[in-house]
């Protein structure tokens, strides 16, 4: 009796294969996000173009994950932690696919921003935020591989930092727009970029929650800590 392995080794191979796909997706998404932020700061249109074209591969992987999961459910009738693994893999793949879209959108806007005057300090702030979110994503996926609830919980907590970074950027862009209305177009694009990166952080949190579900059988019940919301007063 070896509780780590199925009696059917083909079942183990199938489960490992589908997890490998989702991790490959994660790698592509992390790279896309970091490349898109670099392209924005360096005004590197070629790199931005590469990110835009790369999204198709991420989408294709998600489809492959879904096909493989459907096959696993049909042929292997997974139960208990195997079932939770299949369900969580599908959720994680769908989250990663959305993150890929956000990176692609960032790249698209960075090409447009390349034709506009530079907003002082903005692209650096965006890149720092992208790096932080990329780290969350990486930690969430590492937590998934190791079924590490502690690390997953940390990701949930750290998303608050991202929310705060977003709020700070939001105020910064607002100031730029109020100072000089000619900055409005660029700042609107930058704001969407910041918002999208903030959304990637939320997806990292979703993945972390799936890790907790996979390991324990239930989603964390407590409300996730939220950073300062941009809702009141001058903040818009």
């Amino acid at each position: 009796m070896n509780p780590d392995r199925h009696i059917s080794r083909a079942f183990d191979r199938d489960l490992e294969a589908v997890q490998a796909l989702v991790l490959k997706m994660g790698g592509l998404v992390e790279q896309a996000l970091s490349d898109a932020a670099t392209a924005l700061e360096a005004r590197d249109d070629a790199l931005a173009e590469q990110v835009r074209n790369g999204d198709a591969a991420i989408d294709a992987l998600e489809e492959q994950v879904n096909t493989e999961c459907a096959r696993l459910i049909a042929l292997r009738a997974p139960t208990a932690s195997d079932l939770r693994m299949v369900l969580s893999v599908m959720k994680i793949a769908s989250s990663l696919e959305r993150c890929g879209d956000y990176a692609k959108n960032l790249a698209k806007r960075s090409v447009v921003l390349g034709t506009m005057p530079v907003i002082e300090g903005a692209s650096g702030g965006v890149r720092r935020m992208a790096r932080q979110v990329g780290l969350l994503l990486k930690n969430a996926l590492d937590a998934y591989i190791a079924r590490d609830i502690g690390l997953a919980e940390e990701v949930r907590q750290q998303d608050r930092d991202v929310d705060q970074m977003y709020s700070a950027l939001f105020r910064e862009f607002l100031t730029h727009m109020m100072e000089d209305p000619r900055n409005i177009t660029a700042c609107m694009h930058l704001h969407f970029i910041a918002k999208n990166i903030e959304r990637v952080g939320d997806h990292a949190t979703t993945i972390a929650e799936q890790v907790i579900y996979l390991a324990t059988g239930s989603l964390p019940s407590d409300e996730r800590p939220k950073g300062e919301a941009v809702i009141s007063g001058n903040g818009g």
């Binding site: 070896n2 509780p3 780590d4 199925h6 009696i7 059917s8 009738a77 208990a80 195997d82 059988g217």
Partner: protein, 254 residues
């Protein structure tokens, strides 16, 4: 009445000679519910099932200790007649085993020996009702005098179910009732089991975990003579609490 305990077992131990087959089984089996017993071969699930209608009494080396009650009455009490008990606790076996008699006589046998019918008309009615409940009536109503063995395997198994419920038992025990049947006949029996739970307390032993998942509301997992985990079927199959249950239902130990 849901959530009433039909059968309660406390510290049940079974020995076959020197072999300790069942250890300290505590379980409450709900009325009007399908309870599935799962576990690898030799885990004690069939042994426990056979305790519930005292089938083990027929094995000379078998010793049953502990307390098993039905509706609060000790079924191993000296005043309980095992034959009468088995009229209240029907049983269906792995292989369909109709008597070498007509379809009618197979089902009429129980009510006859227990003297449940006052006359032929009443007996006819009982037979028809049991066969209807077993979802077999439309297939056999025109050939009630044909031998039970002339039916297909799936029909024979439904005939055995009709025979088991003809005495109006309160509990129906099924020991691998579908393992000799094809998938269509299996689906028909499973559908029937789902109907039967409106009236009976059904306990089924099955090697097919998917079958346990499909037909039961409660699942008990036995391993090496112990009841490892007992709970709501959905919980057992999505989030079992005991690692041994997890290993078994995910196909890691057998």
């Amino acid at each position: 009445m849901k959530d009433t305990n039909k059968i309660e077992a406390r510290r049940v131990q079974v020995h076959y000679g020197q072999n300790h087959a069942l250890r300290d089984v505590d379980v409450d089996i709900l009325d009007k519910t399908v309870t599935a017993f799962i576990g690898p071969s030799g885990c004690g699930k069939s042994t426990f099932l056979r305790c519930l209608n005292r089938m083990n009494d027929t094995i000379p080396t078998c010793r049953v200790q502990g307390l098993i009650t039905m509706d609060g009455e000790d079924i191993y009490d000296a005043r309980v007649d095992p034959v009468q008990l088995r009229a209240r606790v029907g049983m269906v076996f792995q292989k369909p085993n109709p008597f070498p008699k007509s379809i009618y006589d197979n089902v009429a046998y129980g009510p006859k020996i227990h003297g449940l019918a006052r006359n032929k008309a009443e007996l006819d009615e009982m037979v028809e009702l049991a066969i209807r409940k077993a979802a077999l009536w439309n297939e056999v109503k025109d050939r009630m005098q044909a031998p039970g063995t002339s039916l297909s395997g799936g029909q024979q198994q439904r005939l055995c179910i009709a025979r088991a419920i003809a005495t109006s038992p309160e509990v129906l025990l099924m020991d691998e009732p579908c393992s000799a049947l094809d998938p269509i006949a299996t689906a028909q029996i499973e559908e029937l089991i789902d109907d039967l739970r409106a009236q009976f307390c059904v306990v089924i032993v099955t090697h097919s975990m998917q079958q346990a998942a499909r037909v039961s509301q409660r699942t008990a997992f036995f391993h090496l003579g112990s009841l490892v985990e007992y709970g709501e079927t959905g919980q057992i199959f999505t989030n079992p609490r005991d690692p041994r249950t997890e290993s078994y239902i995910t196909g890691r130990i057998g």
